[in-house]
Symmetry: C2
Subunit: 240 residues, 2 copies
């Protein structure tokens, strides 16, 4: 076995916890005991246990010891769709059609707009995403001009503003709301749907630090689009 020792210790306990042999709340041996069990230094044991803490499988308390964590998993990772990539991956052609573009100051009647841009100017982009010339989604996007000054130059005919933004202005915070709504008059017309058809509605706000970047509202053709979220115990994105 060329497997590192700390990894062996880690996976030993991962297996015992996942198998149910060690139940939530059960106490693990102390580092001193594990040093003897595996005949190694304390740092090695510590590294193994730290990884299990990072994976959320155990909790450690000074003086008290190390315990199997209560199952806490109430969340999973939702991939944010890059529509263009997904459409292309399905072997279809993609294009984006802009049908409105205006620059304006936040309308006090819309608290969203003030929240996004404060006193600064906004640009509003409205367009439709197509897969093989069939409309897939309509989006209305507000972008804060102070956060993204370069945007005035971009045309967004054919390419999606979402993908452009991702490349040029990475966000650090985001919030997404997902709901099912009936198509209103405008949406139905843009997507060639019957009035009241089920649409997947996605509203996302993104920030970079404290500064609002964009607020987008997308209506997907219900029958043509799913969101997928996954959670796996694979070595996972957070150290915590």
């Amino acid at each position: 076995m060329k497997q590192p020792l700390h990894e062996r210790i880690r996976s030993d306990f991962e297996a015992r916890i996942l198998s149910g042999e060690l139940l939530p709340g059960a106490r693990l041996p102390t580092e001193l005991e594990l040093m003897r069990d595996y005949d190694c230094a304390r740092m090695t044991v510590s590294k193994a246990l730290s990884a299990l803490v990072a994976a959320g499988l155990i909790d450690r308390r000074k003086r008290a010891g190390t315990f199997v964590a209560r199952p806490r998993v109430h969340s999973m990772v939702l991939d944010i769709p890059d529509l263009e990539q997904e459409v292309l991956q399905r072997g279809q052609r993609y294009h984006f059609e802009l049908f409105n573009r205006e620059v304006r100051t936040p309308d006090p009647a819309h608290p969203d707009e003030a929240a996004l841009a404060g006193e600064g100017e906004l640009i509003l982009l409205e367009g439709v995403h197509f897969a093989d010339d069939v409309p897939l989604a309509v989006e209305a996007r507000l972008i804060s001009l102070s956060a993204v000054p370069d945007i005035a130059a971009s045309a967004f005919q054919g390419a999606s503003p979402g993908a452009w933004l991702l490349k040029h202005v990475p966000w650090t915070e985001a919030e997404t709301r997902i709901a099912a709504v009936p198509a209103d008059r405008n949406v139905a017309a843009r997507l060639h749907l019957a009035l009241g058809s089920a649409c997947l509605f996605v509203e996302r706000r993104t920030w970079r630090g404290d500064e609002g970047i964009t607020l987008v509202r997308q209506h997907f053709v219900g029958s043509a689009y799913d969101l997928i979220a996954r959670f796996g115990s694979a070595r996972r994105p957070s150290d915590g």
Copy 2:
């Protein structure tokens, strides 16, 4: 400064990467350089960088060095609703009404059922979630009896099987599909909706290791329910 040094190093680089100062592919200083920069031992630097590897922010290659990781998957955390908690938190009464319960062997015509339970038996639970006696969602849930033998004893009248399962059988892998669908005859009747009303459809499969646990399909009243997903630089449990 009571913050550990390795944590300070970690968060320094996390900030520089998230802010865009260090672009994907950019090379970080070597451990030797960082030892000098932070005036500390190599193990301390190593611990900080290991955490960033675990977080997926950097890649490390022997002899070559440490680099900002390539295209970060843009994903965010989706909270999995515990319906009972959410309804209670909104100040409403919650109850669950079971209208069907049967035990059977997987139907070969439904690949889902075989995939879930293999040769073993399944239990099918169908019921409706209520908030203040108004139907909020209807769910159909398949559970593998071999994964959850205790379930035969539970009645699930009033309490939701989802919450029961979470407490008794924590999962390790899950996949969720989210879509907008029109209410069919059955769903419309159960939720007191017009035929074709927009519903948020959530389908979730969960596993424990390789063993399938449950497959649930939920239809939410579109006008009454949202899912929320968030991403923030908020630290996970182990960080300060």
